[in-house]
């Protein structure tokens, strides 16, 4: 395996661990204000199914369930799936690193 690929794997693994920690330490209303970045809102002027998902996740990991429901009710469905995939990706990269 190339050394660059190895560094990339290490960076990914560290990112998987550090990003949730950063989001947990940051205030829950970090993404609440500011312009919408969704293309559906910018071009069509209406919210899509995923709009508010970031804010919903942010409030969910801070145990503010009502706020999470307010921003996007589908967050309750997406959060377990995301957590499952997060762990899966981490283990996958860990296996790759060990194989090398």
């Amino acid at each position: 395996m190339k050394p660059l690929t190895k560094y990339w794997l290490w960076a990914k693994l560290i990112g998987y661990v550090l990003l949730p920690i950063f989001l947990l330490l940051a205030p829950a209303n970090l993404f609440d204000h500011g312009p919408p970045l969704c293309f559906s809102v910018i071009f069509l002027g209406m919210e899509c199914l995923g709009c508010g998902m970031t804010r919903s996740m942010m409030h969910l990991i801070h145990f503010e369930f009502q706020e999470a429901y307010y921003y996007n009710a589908l967050g309750f469905v997406v959060f377990p799936l995301l957590a499952w995939f997060w762990g899966k990706w981490f283990l996958k990269d860990l296996k790759k690193l060990r194989a090398s």
Binding site: G45, Q66, Y69
Partner: protein
């Protein structure tokens, strides 16, 4: 027989009383049943209402919203935002000259449709290169003749 007659009389009296007095006394919205979000805060502005979240309401009134109320709050804010957008769009001046220039130079990507507020048609033109150029030319003529108006309200400035 007497029993039957008395029953019929009673029934008639009941129906009449229900007709006369019931209509006036029945109030579909009794005042005590209306839930109030504004206890202690007084009236709030539209901006404040649009920025309300369940957390803010709990901080202000000390009352925790139910899930249903949270849902209703979101829907109400969405509706008010939409109405505000439409009201603003009615006042904003759209120029027929600008629309014509958009149709001339950027008609192939549907810029005039976006400018006039027909977003869905604009996206369609963007994807089909202005309806293979034909639709864009048709729109150019329609704008020049004043047939194609902005979606919300008339032109602010016209050609002549």
């Amino acid at each position: 027989m007497k029993k039957h007659i008395s029953f019929v009389l009673f029934f008639l009296c009941f129906c009449l009383s229900a007709n006369i007095s019931g209509a006036h006394k029945y109030n579909p919205f009794p005042e005590k049943d209306i839930p109030s979000f504004q206890e202690g805060t007084g009236n709030i502005t539209i901006d404040a209402f649009l920025n309300l979240t369940p957390k803010k309401i709990k901080e202000q009134t000390g009352r925790r919203l139910t899930w249903k109320e949270t849902f209703v709050l979101k829907k109400a804010q969405k509706k008010i935002r939409k109405q505000l957008n439409n009201a603003q769009a009615y006042d904003s001046g759209k120029s027929q000259v600008a629309a014509l220039f958009f149709a001339m130079f950027l008609g192939v990507i549907g810029a005039h449709r976006f400018y006039l507020g027909y977003t869905a048609a604009g996206v369609l033109q963007l994807l089909t290169f202005g309806g293979c150029g034909i639709w864009a030319i048709i729109d150019m003529v329609l704008i020049a003749t004043g047939e194609l108006q902005p979606k919300y309200g008339p032109y602010h400035e016209t050609l002549d």
